[in-house]
Amino acid sequence: MPIRNRVLATLGALALIAVAGACNDDNNDVTSPQGDRVYVQVERLGNPLVSEVFLAKRNHGFHNAGKPSTDVANHAAELEAFVTTVAGRDAAVANTLATVLLPDMLIVQTDKATSSAGWLTWALANGYGGRKLTDDVVDAGLSAIFGNLLSPNNVSPGLTTDNVNQNDKPFLTTFPYLAAAN
Protein backbone atom coordinates (compact mmCIF):
# COMPACT_ATOMS: atom_id res chain seq x y z
CA MET A 1 0.00 0.00 0.00
CA PRO A 2 1.41 3.38 -0.99
CA ILE A 3 2.33 5.49 1.96
CA ARG A 4 -0.40 8.01 1.19
CA ASN A 5 -3.12 5.36 1.24
CA ARG A 6 -1.82 3.93 4.50
CA VAL A 7 -2.03 7.34 6.10
CA LEU A 8 -5.59 7.79 4.87
CA ALA A 9 -6.57 4.35 6.12
CA THR A 10 -5.11 5.09 9.52
CA LEU A 11 -6.91 8.41 9.71
CA GLY A 12 -10.13 6.71 8.69
CA ALA A 13 -9.75 4.11 11.44
CA LEU A 14 -9.05 6.80 14.01
CA ALA A 15 -12.15 8.68 12.88
CA LEU A 16 -14.27 5.56 13.26
CA ILE A 17 -12.90 5.01 16.76
CA ALA A 18 -13.66 8.61 17.65
CA VAL A 19 -17.23 8.33 16.36
CA ALA A 20 -17.76 5.05 18.16
CA GLY A 21 -16.42 6.59 21.36
CA ALA A 22 -18.78 9.51 21.08
CA CYS A 23 -21.73 7.22 20.49
CA ASN A 24 -20.88 5.22 23.58
CA ASP A 25 -20.76 8.25 25.81
CA ASP A 26 -24.04 7.30 27.46
CA ASN A 27 -23.00 8.43 30.90
CA ASN A 28 -23.81 11.99 29.92
CA ASP A 29 -27.38 11.06 29.01
CA VAL A 30 -28.78 12.50 32.18
CA THR A 31 -32.37 12.66 30.99
CA SER A 32 -32.93 8.93 31.53
CA PRO A 33 -31.90 7.76 35.01
CA GLN A 34 -29.43 4.92 35.07
CA GLY A 35 -28.66 2.60 37.90
CA ASP A 36 -24.98 3.48 37.91
CA ARG A 37 -25.39 7.23 38.09
CA VAL A 38 -24.72 8.56 41.57
CA TYR A 39 -26.95 11.44 42.57
CA VAL A 40 -25.61 13.76 45.26
CA GLN A 41 -28.07 15.35 47.67
CA VAL A 42 -28.22 19.16 47.48
CA GLU A 43 -31.47 19.88 49.30
CA ARG A 44 -33.29 18.33 52.26
CA LEU A 45 -36.44 19.18 54.18
CA GLY A 46 -38.30 17.50 57.03
CA ASN A 47 -39.85 19.83 59.56
CA PRO A 48 -40.70 23.33 58.36
CA LEU A 49 -38.65 26.27 59.71
CA VAL A 50 -35.94 24.13 61.34
CA SER A 51 -32.84 25.24 59.52
CA GLU A 52 -34.33 28.66 58.73
CA VAL A 53 -35.11 29.61 62.29
CA PHE A 54 -32.59 27.82 64.41
CA LEU A 55 -29.49 27.37 62.30
CA ALA A 56 -27.17 30.11 61.12
CA LYS A 57 -27.36 30.80 57.42
CA ARG A 58 -23.80 29.55 56.98
CA ASN A 59 -24.91 26.14 58.25
CA HIS A 60 -27.86 25.69 55.90
CA GLY A 61 -25.71 23.98 53.30
CA PHE A 62 -24.38 21.67 56.00
CA HIS A 63 -27.95 20.79 56.97
CA ASN A 64 -29.03 20.35 53.35
CA ALA A 65 -26.18 17.93 52.69
CA GLY A 66 -26.84 15.93 55.86
CA LYS A 67 -29.19 13.20 57.01
CA PRO A 68 -31.52 12.66 59.98
CA SER A 69 -29.34 10.04 61.65
CA THR A 70 -26.64 12.61 62.35
CA ASP A 71 -28.91 15.60 63.04
CA VAL A 72 -28.73 15.43 66.82
CA ALA A 73 -24.94 15.29 66.78
CA ASN A 74 -24.62 18.01 64.15
CA HIS A 75 -27.40 20.46 64.99
CA ALA A 76 -28.91 19.98 68.48
CA ALA A 77 -26.38 22.19 70.29
CA GLU A 78 -26.86 25.07 67.88
CA LEU A 79 -30.64 24.73 68.01
CA GLU A 80 -30.72 24.73 71.81
CA ALA A 81 -28.24 27.60 72.09
CA PHE A 82 -30.39 29.67 69.78
CA VAL A 83 -33.48 29.14 71.92
CA THR A 84 -31.75 29.98 75.20
CA THR A 85 -29.36 32.75 74.26
CA VAL A 86 -31.03 34.43 71.28
CA ALA A 87 -34.70 33.87 72.02
CA GLY A 88 -34.15 34.15 75.78
CA ARG A 89 -36.22 31.12 76.72
CA ASP A 90 -35.37 28.62 79.41
CA ALA A 91 -33.47 25.39 78.90
CA ALA A 92 -36.62 23.29 79.14
CA VAL A 93 -38.09 25.01 76.08
CA ALA A 94 -34.84 24.55 74.20
CA ASN A 95 -34.65 20.90 75.11
CA THR A 96 -38.26 20.28 74.11
CA LEU A 97 -37.79 21.94 70.74
CA ALA A 98 -34.61 20.01 70.02
CA THR A 99 -36.25 16.75 71.00
CA VAL A 100 -39.30 17.16 68.78
CA LEU A 101 -37.54 18.69 65.77
CA LEU A 102 -34.41 16.50 65.57
CA PRO A 103 -33.77 14.16 63.85
CA ASP A 104 -35.31 16.44 61.23
CA MET A 105 -38.21 14.33 59.99
CA LEU A 106 -41.97 14.78 59.87
CA ILE A 107 -43.01 12.19 62.45
CA VAL A 108 -46.24 10.34 61.65
CA GLN A 109 -47.90 7.94 64.10
CA THR A 110 -49.92 6.15 61.45
CA ASP A 111 -51.90 4.11 63.97
CA LYS A 112 -53.39 7.21 65.65
CA ALA A 113 -56.73 8.78 64.75
CA THR A 114 -56.47 10.64 61.44
CA SER A 115 -58.56 13.42 63.00
CA SER A 116 -55.55 14.23 65.20
CA ALA A 117 -53.25 14.85 62.23
CA GLY A 118 -51.21 18.07 62.27
CA TRP A 119 -47.67 19.32 62.67
CA LEU A 120 -46.12 18.11 65.95
CA THR A 121 -49.39 16.63 67.31
CA TRP A 122 -47.47 13.37 67.70
CA ALA A 123 -45.41 15.09 70.41
CA LEU A 124 -47.93 17.55 71.85
CA ALA A 125 -50.96 15.26 72.03
CA ASN A 126 -49.76 11.76 71.13
CA GLY A 127 -51.63 12.26 67.86
CA TYR A 128 -51.11 11.33 64.20
CA GLY A 129 -48.62 14.13 63.56
CA GLY A 130 -47.31 14.72 60.04
CA ARG A 131 -48.13 18.07 58.48
CA LYS A 132 -51.40 19.11 56.88
CA LEU A 133 -51.70 21.67 54.09
CA THR A 134 -53.85 23.79 56.39
CA ASP A 135 -51.41 23.78 59.31
CA ASP A 136 -50.28 27.29 60.22
CA VAL A 137 -46.69 26.27 60.89
CA VAL A 138 -45.47 29.88 61.04
CA ASP A 139 -47.78 30.58 63.96
CA ALA A 140 -46.94 27.25 65.57
CA GLY A 141 -43.26 28.08 65.34
CA LEU A 142 -43.74 31.64 66.56
CA SER A 143 -45.90 30.55 69.49
CA ALA A 144 -43.31 27.97 70.52
CA ILE A 145 -40.42 30.41 70.24
CA PHE A 146 -42.09 33.63 71.48
CA GLY A 147 -45.37 32.51 72.99
CA ASN A 148 -46.77 30.26 75.66
CA LEU A 149 -47.05 27.04 73.67
CA LEU A 150 -44.26 25.44 75.70
CA SER A 151 -43.70 27.89 78.57
CA PRO A 152 -45.43 30.95 80.06
CA ASN A 153 -42.12 32.70 80.77
CA ASN A 154 -40.54 35.46 78.68
CA VAL A 155 -43.20 35.64 75.99
CA SER A 156 -43.33 38.36 73.30
CA PRO A 157 -47.04 38.90 72.58
CA GLY A 158 -46.65 40.91 69.36
CA LEU A 159 -44.65 38.18 67.67
CA THR A 160 -46.66 35.04 68.33
CA THR A 161 -48.73 35.16 65.15
CA ASP A 162 -48.39 36.79 61.74
CA ASN A 163 -52.21 36.87 61.49
CA VAL A 164 -52.19 35.05 58.17
CA ASN A 165 -53.96 31.90 59.19
CA GLN A 166 -54.89 30.15 55.98
CA ASN A 167 -53.99 29.81 52.34
CA ASP A 168 -55.36 32.28 49.81
CA LYS A 169 -57.12 29.49 47.91
CA PRO A 170 -59.02 26.58 49.45
CA PHE A 171 -57.35 23.20 49.17
CA LEU A 172 -59.09 20.37 47.37
CA THR A 173 -60.75 17.69 49.46
CA THR A 174 -59.64 15.00 47.02
CA PHE A 175 -56.42 14.08 45.23
CA PRO A 176 -54.20 15.96 44.38
CA TYR A 177 -55.30 18.28 47.24
CA LEU A 178 -53.15 21.28 46.17
CA ALA A 179 -55.24 24.11 44.76
CA ALA A 180 -55.12 24.76 41.01
CA ALA A 181 -52.47 27.15 39.74
CA ASN A 182 -53.13 30.87 39.60
Binding site: D36, E43, E52, G61, K67, T85, G130, F146, S156
Partner: protein, 243 residues
Protein backbone atom coordinates in the same frame (compact mmCIF):
# COMPACT_ATOMS: atom_id res chain seq x y z
CA UNK B 1 -38.19 49.92 67.08
CA UNK B 2 -34.74 51.33 67.55
CA UNK B 3 -35.37 51.36 71.31
CA UNK B 4 -35.59 47.61 71.16
CA UNK B 5 -31.88 47.40 70.57
CA UNK B 6 -31.16 48.76 74.03
CA UNK B 7 -33.06 45.90 75.64
CA UNK B 8 -31.35 42.53 75.46
CA UNK B 9 -34.47 40.43 75.22
CA UNK B 10 -36.04 42.58 72.58
CA UNK B 11 -32.82 42.42 70.66
CA UNK B 12 -33.00 38.69 70.92
CA UNK B 13 -36.50 38.89 69.57
CA UNK B 14 -35.36 40.88 66.60
CA UNK B 15 -32.62 38.37 65.96
CA UNK B 16 -35.07 35.52 66.00
CA UNK B 17 -37.37 37.22 63.57
CA UNK B 18 -34.38 38.07 61.45
CA UNK B 19 -33.39 34.46 61.36
CA UNK B 20 -36.93 33.40 60.64
CA UNK B 21 -37.28 35.82 57.81
CA UNK B 22 -33.82 35.14 56.48
CA UNK B 23 -34.80 32.11 54.52
CA UNK B 24 -38.31 33.23 54.14
CA UNK B 25 -36.98 35.64 51.63
CA UNK B 26 -33.35 36.59 51.03
CA UNK B 27 -33.58 37.65 47.41
CA UNK B 28 -36.10 38.07 44.68
CA UNK B 29 -39.42 37.80 46.42
CA UNK B 30 -39.54 34.35 47.81
CA UNK B 31 -40.88 32.95 51.02
CA UNK B 32 -42.01 29.78 52.70
CA UNK B 33 -40.56 27.35 55.08
CA UNK B 34 -37.50 26.44 53.08
CA UNK B 35 -37.47 28.72 50.07
CA UNK B 36 -34.08 29.61 48.62
CA UNK B 37 -32.17 28.65 51.72
CA UNK B 38 -28.70 28.61 50.20
CA UNK B 39 -27.18 30.57 47.33
CA UNK B 40 -26.80 27.37 45.35
CA UNK B 41 -30.47 26.44 45.40
CA UNK B 42 -31.44 30.08 45.08
CA UNK B 43 -29.61 30.24 41.77
CA UNK B 44 -31.16 26.95 40.70
CA UNK B 45 -34.84 27.17 41.66
CA UNK B 46 -35.59 23.65 40.47
CA UNK B 47 -33.27 22.39 43.22
CA UNK B 48 -35.06 24.48 45.81
CA UNK B 49 -37.50 22.49 47.92
CA UNK B 50 -40.07 24.73 49.59
CA UNK B 51 -42.23 22.50 51.79
CA UNK B 52 -42.93 18.87 52.64
CA UNK B 53 -46.27 17.57 53.92
CA UNK B 54 -47.59 14.21 55.18
CA UNK B 55 -51.26 13.75 56.04
CA UNK B 56 -54.08 11.19 55.94
CA UNK B 57 -55.49 10.32 52.52
CA UNK B 58 -58.93 9.45 51.20
CA UNK B 59 -59.34 6.73 53.82
CA UNK B 60 -57.81 6.12 57.23
CA UNK B 61 -55.41 3.52 55.85
CA UNK B 62 -53.96 5.82 53.19
CA UNK B 63 -51.33 8.57 53.45
CA UNK B 64 -50.50 11.56 51.26
CA UNK B 65 -46.97 12.91 50.73
CA UNK B 66 -46.43 16.33 49.13
CA UNK B 67 -43.29 18.18 48.07
CA UNK B 68 -43.25 21.68 46.58
CA UNK B 69 -40.34 23.24 44.71
CA UNK B 70 -39.38 26.28 42.64
CA UNK B 71 -41.65 28.87 44.29
CA UNK B 72 -42.17 31.72 43.64
CA UNK B 73 -43.58 31.14 40.16
CA UNK B 74 -45.82 33.90 38.87
CA UNK B 75 -48.87 33.10 36.74
CA UNK B 76 -47.03 34.52 33.73
CA UNK B 77 -44.11 32.13 34.32
CA UNK B 78 -46.30 29.12 34.96
CA UNK B 79 -46.94 27.95 31.42
CA UNK B 80 -43.25 27.23 30.90
CA UNK B 81 -42.47 25.93 34.40
CA UNK B 82 -41.21 22.37 34.50
CA UNK B 83 -39.30 19.97 36.70
CA UNK B 84 -35.59 19.48 36.08
CA UNK B 85 -34.97 16.17 34.25
CA UNK B 86 -31.41 16.15 35.62
CA UNK B 87 -32.56 15.89 39.24
CA UNK B 88 -33.69 13.05 41.47
CA UNK B 89 -36.59 13.99 43.76
CA UNK B 90 -37.11 11.61 46.70
CA UNK B 91 -39.33 11.02 49.67
CA UNK B 92 -37.51 9.03 52.33
CA UNK B 93 -39.19 7.08 55.11
CA UNK B 94 -37.62 5.76 58.31
CA UNK B 95 -39.85 3.11 59.90
CA UNK B 96 -37.41 1.79 62.50
CA UNK B 97 -36.67 4.96 64.48
CA UNK B 98 -32.99 5.30 63.61
CA UNK B 99 -33.17 8.24 61.19
CA UNK B 100 -32.08 6.04 58.28
CA UNK B 101 -34.41 5.54 55.32
CA UNK B 102 -35.99 2.10 55.04
CA UNK B 103 -38.22 3.03 52.11
CA UNK B 104 -37.75 5.53 49.32
CA UNK B 105 -40.01 6.90 46.63
CA UNK B 106 -38.00 8.23 43.70
CA UNK B 107 -39.45 10.70 41.21
CA UNK B 108 -37.74 11.68 37.96
CA UNK B 109 -38.81 13.58 34.87
CA UNK B 110 -38.05 13.51 31.17
CA UNK B 111 -38.73 16.19 28.59
CA UNK B 112 -39.76 19.74 29.35
CA UNK B 113 -42.83 21.92 29.60
CA UNK B 114 -46.35 20.63 29.37
CA UNK B 115 -45.24 17.45 27.56
CA UNK B 116 -43.00 16.44 30.47
CA UNK B 117 -43.28 12.86 31.69
CA UNK B 118 -43.11 11.78 35.34
CA UNK B 119 -41.69 8.46 36.55
CA UNK B 120 -42.28 7.17 40.08
CA UNK B 121 -40.30 4.29 41.61
CA UNK B 122 -41.14 2.70 44.94
CA UNK B 123 -41.98 2.72 47.77
CA UNK B 124 -39.07 0.31 47.91
CA UNK B 125 -35.95 -0.29 49.97
CA UNK B 126 -33.17 1.99 48.72
CA UNK B 127 -30.09 0.69 46.93
CA UNK B 128 -27.97 2.92 49.16
CA UNK B 129 -28.95 5.01 52.17
CA UNK B 130 -27.63 8.47 52.99
CA UNK B 131 -26.79 11.42 50.79
CA UNK B 132 -25.40 9.71 47.68
CA UNK B 133 -28.02 7.62 45.91
CA UNK B 134 -28.69 5.67 42.75
CA UNK B 135 -32.00 4.98 41.07
CA UNK B 136 -33.42 1.69 42.35
CA UNK B 137 -33.30 -1.24 39.97
CA UNK B 138 -36.98 -2.04 40.27
CA UNK B 139 -39.17 -0.86 37.45
CA UNK B 140 -41.34 2.24 37.63
CA UNK B 141 -44.46 2.07 39.80
CA UNK B 142 -46.12 4.73 37.67
CA UNK B 143 -45.31 6.75 34.58
CA UNK B 144 -47.31 9.40 32.81
CA UNK B 145 -47.77 13.02 31.91
CA UNK B 146 -47.44 15.91 34.32
CA UNK B 147 -50.55 17.85 35.37
CA UNK B 148 -52.46 14.57 35.33
CA UNK B 149 -53.74 12.30 38.09
CA UNK B 150 -51.93 8.99 37.63
CA UNK B 151 -52.48 5.61 39.24
CA UNK B 152 -55.21 3.82 41.11
CA UNK B 153 -57.17 5.11 44.10
CA UNK B 154 -56.84 1.67 45.70
CA UNK B 155 -53.05 1.67 45.37
CA UNK B 156 -50.45 4.29 44.44
CA UNK B 157 -51.55 7.64 43.00
CA UNK B 158 -49.25 10.36 41.70
CA UNK B 159 -49.50 13.91 40.43
CA UNK B 160 -46.82 16.40 39.46
CA UNK B 161 -47.34 19.86 38.07
CA UNK B 162 -47.92 23.55 38.57
CA UNK B 163 -50.22 24.41 41.51
CA UNK B 164 -50.97 27.25 43.89
CA UNK B 165 -48.14 27.51 46.47
CA UNK B 166 -49.83 26.09 49.59
CA UNK B 167 -47.67 28.09 52.01
CA UNK B 168 -48.97 31.30 53.59
CA UNK B 169 -47.44 34.08 55.69
CA UNK B 170 -47.16 37.87 56.01
CA UNK B 171 -43.69 38.21 54.56
CA UNK B 172 -43.98 41.94 53.93
CA UNK B 173 -44.45 42.62 57.63
CA UNK B 174 -41.44 40.47 58.43
CA UNK B 175 -39.38 42.96 56.43
CA UNK B 176 -40.95 45.96 58.13
CA UNK B 177 -39.74 44.42 61.41
CA UNK B 178 -36.35 43.35 60.07
CA UNK B 179 -35.57 45.36 56.92
CA UNK B 180 -31.94 44.28 56.78
CA UNK B 181 -33.19 40.93 55.48
CA UNK B 182 -35.33 42.31 52.70
CA UNK B 183 -34.54 41.36 49.11
CA UNK B 184 -32.41 43.58 46.92
CA UNK B 185 -34.75 43.45 43.94
CA UNK B 186 -38.51 43.45 43.45
CA UNK B 187 -41.33 45.19 45.28
CA UNK B 188 -40.23 44.15 48.77
CA UNK B 189 -36.83 45.79 48.24
CA UNK B 190 -38.61 49.16 48.24
CA UNK B 191 -39.64 48.90 51.89
CA UNK B 192 -37.85 51.36 54.21
CA UNK B 193 -34.30 50.49 55.23
CA UNK B 194 -35.05 51.25 58.88
CA UNK B 195 -37.52 49.22 60.97
CA UNK B 196 -41.05 50.60 60.79
CA UNK B 197 -42.76 47.93 62.90
CA UNK B 198 -42.09 45.88 66.00
CA UNK B 199 -45.03 43.51 65.76
CA UNK B 200 -47.08 41.71 63.14
CA UNK B 201 -50.08 43.39 61.57
CA UNK B 202 -53.47 42.71 63.16
CA UNK B 203 -55.97 40.34 61.62
CA UNK B 204 -57.70 42.01 58.73
CA UNK B 205 -54.60 44.01 57.85
CA UNK B 206 -52.11 41.15 57.55
CA UNK B 207 -51.51 40.00 53.97
CA UNK B 208 -50.54 36.57 52.65
CA UNK B 209 -47.51 37.39 50.56
CA UNK B 210 -47.87 34.14 48.58
CA UNK B 211 -51.41 34.85 47.42
CA UNK B 212 -51.60 34.22 43.69
CA UNK B 213 -48.13 32.60 43.59
CA UNK B 214 -47.52 29.13 42.19
CA UNK B 215 -45.10 26.29 42.90
CA UNK B 216 -44.26 22.97 41.29
CA UNK B 217 -45.85 20.22 43.34
CA UNK B 218 -45.34 16.46 43.60
CA UNK B 219 -48.25 14.67 45.28
CA UNK B 220 -48.34 10.95 46.09
CA UNK B 221 -51.01 8.95 47.87
CA UNK B 222 -50.76 5.28 48.82
CA UNK B 223 -51.76 2.68 51.37
CA UNK B 224 -49.92 3.56 54.59
CA UNK B 225 -48.83 -0.08 54.83
CA UNK B 226 -46.49 0.51 51.88
CA UNK B 227 -44.44 2.77 54.19
CA UNK B 228 -44.76 0.91 57.49
CA UNK B 229 -43.96 -2.43 55.83
CA UNK B 230 -41.19 -4.21 57.70
CA UNK B 231 -41.13 -1.64 60.50
CA UNK B 232 -43.27 0.15 63.04
CA UNK B 233 -46.45 2.23 62.73
CA UNK B 234 -44.44 5.32 63.70
CA UNK B 235 -42.52 6.70 60.74
CA UNK B 236 -40.30 9.67 59.92
CA UNK B 237 -40.66 11.38 56.52
CA UNK B 238 -38.34 13.79 54.72
CA UNK B 239 -37.73 14.98 51.19
CA UNK B 240 -34.48 15.32 49.26
CA UNK B 241 -33.38 16.70 45.91
CA UNK B 242 -30.18 15.34 44.36
CA UNK B 243 -28.29 16.03 41.19
Amino acid sequence: MRNLFSRPRALATVAVVAALSATLAITRSSSASDHQDTPEVELSPRMDMNDVYAFPGASADRIVLVMTTSSPITPAQSASASFDPNLLYQFKIDNTGDGVEDKVIQVTFSGTGTSQQMTVRGPVAPTTTGTMNTVVSTGPSLTGAVNTNLGNAASLQAFAGIRDDPFFLDLEQFFRIVPDRKPVTGALSKLPDQPTASAFRPAGQAVDYLRGINALGIVLEMPTAMLTDGGTKKIGVWGTISR
